[in-house]
Symmetry: C3
Subunit: 371 residues, 3 copies
């Protein structure tokens, strides 16, 4: 964990470089790449700071903080991109984040973990419950597109209303999921919490004694600073996205589905893979499944409502291929994770699915309108 | 159970009211609403009478009676509506009945049961077998629409033939399912039968001693009377459906998918929820899954064949969104029920799926031709 | 086993008959039917010879031989038909082989086995792993069609490139699957190997003592002879396919999806059913699942690459109904097999699904271009 974190932190050098590239106008491609590289360690530090503060706040408030800030990077990039009018890129990056967590992160974890351990176990009850919640989320997100595709067409204001209604249902389910996991059925999640210890962080038990020692103010400062910097770097990233990806010969669809999610989720990727290689599959699987669930039940509906407020309305009407990609990602992730055991071949299957979908997005001829 | 039944029976007052509304021409909206309210307790009495007669007839003939009359209300409304030419409403109500049983009934049962009991158990083998049968039924019902959508179009006579062939396969499977559950593998279903006791009704064991005491003729009379009255009220309901729902600002699609199934299934809803709150989840889940299976394997194909006889041919070519709704209902119901345990959050997930689909049907712009 | 084999071998009489029918020009329908009947026992002998040689070669090389030649008949018919330009028939027969193995073979096995044994058990771990691999394969094969359907259309060269890329991913996964089952996790498959004994063939253990006795050269001769004869009969079959099926009033789609796979897989059908009736469900299920997996992960991508070499490019752009058929076949096969137990009703469900899909293909109005 420490090595990964150190490695990631060296990328902080790209914060000043990207700023320099912006002010001295080294070209949009360089600004795009350096700001992308700068966001990766910042997202990692936001995650660490969130967890440290959560420990001090205790399981309830802390859990809530984690649940709200767990995908803060995606949320910030999403709002900045929405504000810049890149509605399609935002929608694509939601699809890509779910796909990336379920296939790339879980696949890498199972593959690399499986190279070291013949079979790895994790709690199937939580995996199944997450699978059911994920199924609901995918169904809900699929519905507006399905209404559009199966009718003679639906007017944009109706689509907005439908999307907002779905968003409200999803946020309600998200809040109830938190109530379930933190209050009424928290005992189901105890294994995961105990193993949290394994990644070298302070557990709630230890925290009782050490709380005074933790410099809460310091971590709040780190969180604020990292959040502001991510917001700033997101502006650089979003502002150069269209021109840079054109220069690189990539479609907006590919950028949104593959590139942006990898940038936003790199820190989580590192965590999930690192703990999988320590045979802590419960934690690894719950990071991957939990993160994709959070995107679907919280980030996506919040962005729908945020778009409304920003006057840049974002509906849930996706390109049908994006829906197919999400649906098959959920299908194969459920199929692989529902039995509570994994091996390297299951990792290969997930990675192969990601590769095939990635190739398809690369060749997909629909160039969605940017701006 | 008694309270629910008493409550339902007070609705019988709407039988004379609806008749008065019809003869004194109080307007189609009032006739529609009062006949709908009248059907609910009548369906409940049909169910009770069927079960009482089934007990006297013994497990074999009684099981057959239950299997045939279990969804008699849907069948009667369906035939009356078919005869009135409301083919699309009939098709939509089949979709809505399956959706309603899997999501609304099972969701309410798991939610309300889960509020009282932390975790509830039921037999996963039967849930899985029902899931496989339900998968088959959905696949079969999906096939004619899929042929139509994936081709340059299929001529109506061919669609009729295809639908009839599928209907015959489905009825054959239904008969074999009865043979399985009542003859060759009845031991798998013993838990459910034993728990049947819990809803305060007479079990086969007790029946051996009490059979003489049961006034068989009385129950047959109740069944006949309730059946005839349902048929009459169905005429009132169907005759005013088009005008009344227009007045209420509802599309035919929404009426067929949401309103009609709630009217036809209210009694089953009450049973399933009541027994769930007594922690009899085996019975509750089997009512919900069994009823949806009966709709798909028996009511739907019988209506296809009945339409042929009535000269109002009904094919199995659905609006693709209806198919998506059924498919995702089955998917999430399977996902939630396959592990043989439930909690309140699983109920929430099913209810959320129902809500989202209901919203979508409300906004769906396809107004199918009525009449 | 012996009886089935003897029965099949009597069909060898159709080898000379079909050749006579060809040279004396008895008409394409007769050549088509007799060459089809001739291929069935030849495929059986190829299978037997492959297994006998595999025993001598030992588990590693032998396993590889089995994995490569296991669906040699499909591969030969496929290459001959590709070379004759019948690209759509080849694609349809891939779909039909997967469907046939999952629904017809597994359905017949579970049904006939279930008539004799109340419940039959098999190893669920392998069934689930196969299910996950099958899900991946279907997803991968679905992707090019999905890209085409969800876009304004994709140019043929791009479709070829996309299909070739998917084919390479699939072959890579296939090789890794062999590595998994033969090297790193072979212990998971031990039950299946032990039961192999049951079908009266020589096990590896016995082989150690008997290897000298086995006339290796004889079996290699049988394999070569059968392979060459299958190739020749395939030419007769393919050369008369278009005219004969027209005479019989069948569409090219129905021929490809239903007829050709039954001819190519008859020997495997016989094996799977025979061992199921001896309560060796592990072997029976692994033949059916393994064969369909081999088609998807090996035969299909090899044909894509072979088409490229032959200058008769075959992409993976299917008729959407073919995709639906494969997807629902995998869905219901997974649903039935994932719990590691079967009974006759589960067999009925699979057979009913096959029947419904067969009826649909019979009526499907798309007549794909032959030649």
């Amino acid at each position: 964990m420490l090595n990964t974190k150190t490695l990631l932190s060296t990328l902080l050098i790209f914060v000043p470089i990207s700023i320099a590239a912006h002010f001295f106008e080294w070209g949009s491609t360089i600004v795009f790449i350096t700001s992308a590289l700068a966001i990766i360690p910042l997202a990692g530090w936001m995650g660490t700071a969130t967890e440290e503060i959560a420990v001090v706040l205790g399981p309830n408030l802390g859990g809530l903080l984690n649940a709200t800030f767990g995908n803060a990077t995606e949320l910030i990039i999403g709002i900045v991109a929405l504000n810049a009018g890149l509605v399609d890129v935002v929608k694509s990056s939601l699809v890509g984040s779910i796909m990336g967590n379920l296939l790339l992160v879980m696949g890498l974890s199972m593959f690399l973990g499986g190279l070291r351990f013949k079979e790895q176990q994790f709690q199937p009850v939580i995996a199944r419950l997450n699978a059911s919640a994920m199924n609901l989320a995918v169904i809900a997100i699929l519905v507006p597109t399905a209404v559009d595709v199966t009718s003679i067409g639906i007017q944009e204001p109706t689509m907005q209303t439908l999307s907002a209604a779905v968003a409200i249902v999803l946020i309600t389910v998200y809040i109830l999921t938190l109530l379930f996991s933190m209050k009424t059925h928290s005992y189901l999640y105890d294994v995961g919490v105990a193993e949290n210890d394994a990644d070298g962080q302070i557990t709630p038990e230890e925290a009782g004694h050490e709380a005074e020692k933790v410099n809460l103010k310091l971590w709040i400062g780190v969180l604020l600073l990292a959040t502001l910097t991510v917001a700033f770097e997101s502006e650089l990233l979003v502002g150069t996205l269209e021109e840079a990806t054109n220069n690189l010969g990539l479609t907006a669809l590919f950028t949104g589905v593959i590139l942006v999610p990898i940038i936003g989720n790199a820190a989580e990727h590192a965590t999930a893979v690192t703990v999988a290689m320590k045979d802590k599959m419960d934690l690894s699987v719950s990071v991957a499944l939990g993160s994709s669930l959070q995107i679907a039940l919280f980030v996506a509906p919040v962005l729908v409502l945020a778009g409304w407020i920003l006057g840049k309305p974002m509906d849930l009407n996706f390109n049908p291929f994006e829906l197919i990609a999400v649906a098959v990602s959920v299908l194969i992730a459920n199929s692989v994770s529902s039995d509570g055991r994994s091996d390297w071949l299951e990792g290969v299957l997930l990675l192969a699915a990601y590769t095939v979908l990635g190739i398809a997005f690369y060749f997909h001829p629909i160039i969605e309108g940017i701006g």
